[in-house]
């Protein structure tokens, strides 16, 4: 039997009836969740927490787009506008992007490598709660100052918090302290979770799962986790310096006492640029799992994909100063960062070609996860192309600080990363809840999202090229920016509607969705071999794997993968 060969339970015997559980009191449920050390529950809490912040950050984006829809708008005051873009950036990067990816990592990595839990379950719970506390602390800054309508005394220094704007003189009050502390805490949480994921992947793999048989998702999380230690730790160090400057009067970034504002930029972007890859590598990881399953083909070029990911990890650590071309670093430094930035497009290109080769000639099923993945491929390509344009220092000199840059990085963050996050939701939701998400609502979500996304960020390039700067709260009519800004704002509202459909789909499908069964997509990785939702111990017997697609081997014993590897 398959059991004796592989140690996996047979896939034929799937119990489709949802199990009736005795009702628990609300407080009991709450106690269960707060005290849990189960990697699946912590993963889901991460995801719930970042979805909450996704909605909050989205509202901030909409406020900004309403303000900029027409010239001379007075919807919000300049102060509130500054707070909105600061909180929008900070929230989306630190309290949406990283936690949601760590949430998926937490949930999926142990299941995919056949482990029962993470390497350090209690560290895992600690990391989650300290990150969450960081997020809440940022919004606690709303209470105070000029009240809720005036957005309290929220931070207004931009998500990059350039010195000396953060000095006590220019940022009186405590808003910047809230910003620093919340980033510091969530950074500690991120480092803890990343450490946990890396140790889990290295030390907890089930028998037979050698490094060259791991699912690509685990490989990419290994690279991402390692990058988090190397990139988020400098941010933590820089935040400590900023706190020392603000609390005890040291002079790291105090230009009056000989300190340097450029040093803050270096320290911030030493974190800030790898951060883009920390966010995008998990998105690649989802694509690596979803595209093969929906094309009915094994991933093309597994070793090349691994090599490209590790390559991206290394190169990304040497490109940070392309955010600083206009600062005046000198020609030598600029040339170095131009070329290191361009080189990173080589491994990225390898990945795109491998995905295309996987789709090529496949039997493609356009279910929601695949739709979002195809959108991702297309949009990520365009984002990469504008990225290469911006990596050329003279071009960057012209357009840095304009809406062209805003459009470029939102193309990556929304068009690539958020699209893949949505794909991952549609793909793994049945595993986590036991129910399918509605395909009909999924299609509505996808098409509205695509239309809204392209209306917003395609057209945002144009006012950028016409010279519209970032971070302005309003503008004069008659410069040719009005029509583009109006289109962009309408697109943003369409995206918000699409996201609300998605949130409705999440809630609705939890109660009314079609029962999924263990393996609704006919997939090949280990997480689909256990029940949906998985029991707290994940696998009844520890699986033993012989190839990269263990479930394929069980379903097709006449033609197992290990004959070809």
């Amino acid at each position: 039997m398959a059991d004796s060969v592989s140690g996996l339970s047979s896939v034929e015997a799937i119990d489709l009836t949802p199990v009736e559980k005795p009702r628990q009191l609300f407080l009991e449920v709450l106690y269960d969740w707060v005290t849990t050390v189960d990697h699946k529950k912590i993963g889901l809490m991460y995801i719930a927490y970042s979805l909450t912040f996704l909605v909050i950050g989205g509202i901030e984006a909409i406020v900004m787009r309403i303000q900029l829809a027409v010239p001379h708008n007075t919807f919000v005051s300049p102060e509130v506008f500054n707070r909105m873009f600061t909180l929008h950036g900070t929230t989306m990067v630190f309290f949406v992007g990283m936690p949601i990816l760590f949430g998926f990592g937490n949930y999926l990595v142990p299941l995919m490598i056949g482990a029962r839990d993470m390497a350090f379950p209690r560290l895992n719970a600690f990391s989650f709660w300290i990150s969450a506390f960081g997020g809440f602390l940022l919004y606690y800054s709303f209470i105070g100052g000029s009240g809720l309508y005036g957005a309290g005394s929220a931070p207004d220094v931009g998500w990059f918090a350039y010195a000396p704007l953060t000095a006590k003189v220019f940022s009186p009050g405590h808003s910047t302290d809230y910003w620093t502390l919340s980033i510091l805490l969530s950074g500690i949480g991120s480092i803890g979770t990343a450490l946990n994921i890396v140790v889990t992947i290295i030390c907890m793999r089930c028998p037979g799962m050698k490094l060259n048989r791991m699912p690509l998702l685990s490989w990419l999380y290994l690279v991402t986790g390692s990058m988090v230690f190397i990139a988020v730790s400098p941010l933590t160090a820089a935040q400590i310096m900023l706190m020392l400057d603000r609390y005890v009067g040291s002079h790291f970034f105090d230009t009056q006492a000989g300190g340097s504002a450029i040093l803050w930029m270096h320290f911030f972007w030493i974190f800030g640029h790898p951060e883009v890859y920390i966010l995008v590598l998990p998105a690649f990881a989802f694509a690596n799992e979803i595209i093969p399953v929906f094309s009915r083909k094994a991933i093309f070029g597994y070793p090349a994909m691994v090599a490209a990911s590790v390559g991206i990890g290394f190169i990304s650590l040497s490109v940070w100063a392309h955010h600083m071309f206009a600062v005046g670093m000198g020609a030598g430094a600029n040339v170095f960062f131009v070329f290191s930035t361009m080189i990173i497009s080589v491994p990225t290109g390898i990945k795109i070609f491998n995905w295309l080769a996987t789709i090529w000639g496949g039997k493609i099923r356009f279910a929601s996860p695949m739709l979002f993945s195809v959108g991702f491929l297309f949009q990520f390509l365009i984002a990469g192309l504008t990225g290469i344009m911006l990596s050329v220092a003279p071009f960057d000199w012209q357009l840095t600080g304009s809406y062209f840059v805003v459009a470029h990085f939102h193309y990556v963050l929304v068009g690539a990363i958020l699209f893949m996050i949505f794909a991952a939701f549609y793909y793994w939701y049945p595993k986590a809840t036991g129910r399918m998400m509605s395909e009909r609502l999924g299609k509505w979500h996808f098409w509205l999202m695509v239309i809204g996304f392209h209306m917003t960020f395609d057209f945002m390039h144009i006012p950028g090229l016409l010279g519209m700067p970032r971070r302005i709260y309003t503008y004069e009519p008659g410069r040719g920016w009005e029509i583009w800004n109006l289109i962009v704002s309408v697109g943003a509202v369409i995206q918000a509607i699409a996201t609300l459909i998605f949130v409705y789909n999440l809630v609705h499908s939890y109660y009314k969705g079609e029962v999924a069964g263990n393996d609704p997509w006919d997939a090949w990785t280990l997480e689909w071999s256990t029940a949906s939702p998985p029991p707290s111990y994940n696998f009844a017997t520890t699986p033993i794997v012989h190839s990269r697609r263990p479930l394929w081997d069980i379903k097709h014993p006449e033609d197992p993968d290990w004959n070809y590897e």
């Binding site: 039997m1 398959a2 060969v5 140690g7 047979s10 390497a119 350090f120 480092i191 990343a194 450490l195 890396v198 140790v199 290295i202 030390c203 907890m204 793999r205 028998p207 037979g208 390692s226 230690f229 190397i230 990139a231 988020v232 730790s233 400098p234 933590t236 160090a237 820089a238 400590i240 310096m241 020392l244 005890v248 009067g249 040291s250 002079h251 790291f252 006492a257 000989g258 300190g259 340097s260 040093l263 320290f267 030493i270 033993i544 012989h546 014993p557 006449e558 197992p560 290990w562 004959n563």
Partner: protein, 198 residues
Amino acid sequence: MSTIPITPDPSDEPWILPDRGTIGMACLIIAESAIFVIFVVAYIFYMGQSLSGPTPRQVLELPIFTTICLLSSSFTLHWAVVALRKSKLGAFNAWLATTVVLGAIFLIGTGMEWYHLIYVDGLTIQTNLFGTTFYSLVGLHATHVIVGLLMLIAALIFGLTGHVTEKHAHRMDVLSLYWHFVDAVWVIVFTVVYVLGR
């Protein structure tokens, strides 16, 4: 479903994975190194940039005695773990106690140095860029020494009350990795602050 795999069953090979504690500590050390790198870079970047005195040459003295104490504590801790592995619990406690004493001497030395700098030479973290970078870098290292000492003291208490046996040698290994890291960082801090900085 009953076909026999064509290739030999890989599960026959012994399946041994690296140890969680060691890899976890290695990851922590990488993360901590990145933090120290930023503080060291800031120190080097601001070397000689202070707008006012005192300068390092005027006030810093080479802490040779405490450095020797800290560096030799790595060896005593190593011998403690070796003794534990051979089940020589008395020797383990003795070497561990020596390590704690040596680490404490280093901390006291730092405290005396700081007292002298603050109350005699008038150098605080607010005085100039030298003060800013000096206290933050040396202070960050001292914080790590304190954390390491607390863990070593806990191990010593467990050792003296008879709760440590040979099977805990591996945990002491992980702890000693941390302590060796703290020592290695001191070599860099010593070189940058006291040798190059003067």
